[in-house]
Subunit: 215 residues, 3 copies
């Protein structure tokens, strides 16, 4: 936010968007690193601390997203199409929302054993977010279009991995899970984790449409 | 609808949108008042009558929403951005859809006991809809921007209340609910009620983006 | 795709969109015919073969949809509003996604008995897709606006049928289904099938908004 104010004074007005989007992906990177750390933490209480800490990051992200929408409403000149800014901000905000949503579900449902499917989801999400982090930082100069294209391809392939993992997780759940309540909880968690990867793909698709227009 | 025809003759073409949006929130206000009344009705049959009556309101709302899209397609001049009209009409229509959807679930699932979580959702929804009612009636003159901003802040905070209520409801359900079928039914109902508050927030966010542009 | 290249050379650039959308609905028609055939196939293994074959069709559809977005990014002139192209491509892509998603669920959940509700959904989806097929092929010449309007009305009424079928299916499921795991599986399948009809309606609504603007 300090950086945001700095940029407002010294840079052309429309550069604000780059800084705000960078702030958002920096937040997302932090969130997904905390999340993966939590998934590999064997101590339940320490894991809870990590999961709870995502709440604050998600609120912080809400504020930056809100700023993007306010800037969008008050700026005539934008670095790329207004609708792309709108879609990208929404997709990135959804990533934070559903990551925090997954964390909340684990806590609310009292899920104590983090299974392999969940750990693999945390890894896929982390790799997708790191890719988006690279892609959005490249948007500012638009010099390395090849790198941005690679990001989009990579996130799309990670979303496919997420899809397959959900399928595998569900097959496993229905074949081994005898307790219906456990099935309900895990199904809900897996689907939400898969939604995080969907939202990463949405963000990558907007980035792709931006670079197509400016190529 | 009578008013709609009147406006078409005597007012500039683009004023039609205000009247149509007002007709929509008036419908929503009626629906949420019927809904809250149903939730507090202890007689099962009388409650069913109230819930069933929402069907007709929802269809009526569909028609007005459809009119908005037709006007949007045939008018070059609109009082605010075309995309905002599209988003606002969609969000308001979703509120009606999901409110009626919640009512249908209660009937289809044979939910006879209206628990505290459900009653609280009805109250949150009602307060959010009343807020949107105020906000949309203020849009026409754009004189009281402060009041519209308050509406947006209020609906956002009610959506947060809805989020917390869903969390609380789910924790309660999993800790006390021994019958998996009951868990499935209630989880579905709570999630749909929470979606109503999400859609109220979506509508408030569009209203906010409209007033930012015209401030 | 062969046709796509042909059109690129001999026709004005913006005609590409008609060909791509026609390719998409041709794919959808094939998919929904395979789907309905699978639902009426009593031999489990032959049914599995049919369901599995939808995967390839869905991937092929993804590629055409991707092409539409690339053309949208690189063309200044489009035959109808950019946002309508975006919405229509997204809705049609969702139809393929959710149809394949429904097929996957049946396989992953090991659903061997295709009940009447599922068969009726396959029929509703097929009729809606055939209607969209007609509507999109009519878009190119815009001569028969009445036929396009009929398509939209028809798809909307099929979506209503889908809604009622879901309601009926759920009531049946909860009144007869004693096994909670079965309830979870079927509920998930029915909801996904109903989502296919929602996406058909979304596509029809975009088509309607296109013809309103060009009438």
């Amino acid at each position: 936010m300090g950086l945001g104010s700095f940029v407002k004074i010294f840079l052309p007005k429309d550069k604000v968007f780059y800084s705000l989007f960078e702030e958002v992906v920096n937040n997302l990177k932090n969130m997904s690193e905390i999340f993966i750390k939590a998934m590999n933490e064997t101590d339940y209480n320490r894991r809870l601390e990590l999961l709870k800490s995502l709440d604050e990051w998600e609120s912080r992200n809400d504020e930056v997203t809100h700023k993007i929408f306010i800037e969008l409403g008050s700026n005539f000149i934008t670095p790329f199409d207004r609708e792309d800014i709108h879609y990208l901000a929404t997709a990135l905000d959804d990533i934070a929302d559903f990551m925090w949503g997954s964390a909340k579900r684990m806590m609310n449902y009292g899920i104590e054993d983090i299974d392999d499917v969940t750990k693999k989801f945390a890894d896929i999400i982390n790799r997708a977010v790191l890719s988006l982090h690279t892609g959005i930082h490249e948007l500012r100069n638009m010099k390395n279009l090849r790198a941005v294209t690679e990001v989009c391809v990579n996130v799309n392939s990670l979303e496919n991995e997420g899809d397959d993992l959900l399928d595998k997780g569900m097959v496993q759940l229905f074949s081994t899970g005898t307790n219906p309540i456990e099935v309900i909880k895990k199904k809900d968690l897996y689907q939400m984790l898969e939604t995080v990867t969907d939202k990463c793909e949405d963000a990558a698709n907007v980035i792709e449409s931006i670079i197509i227009k400016y190529a």
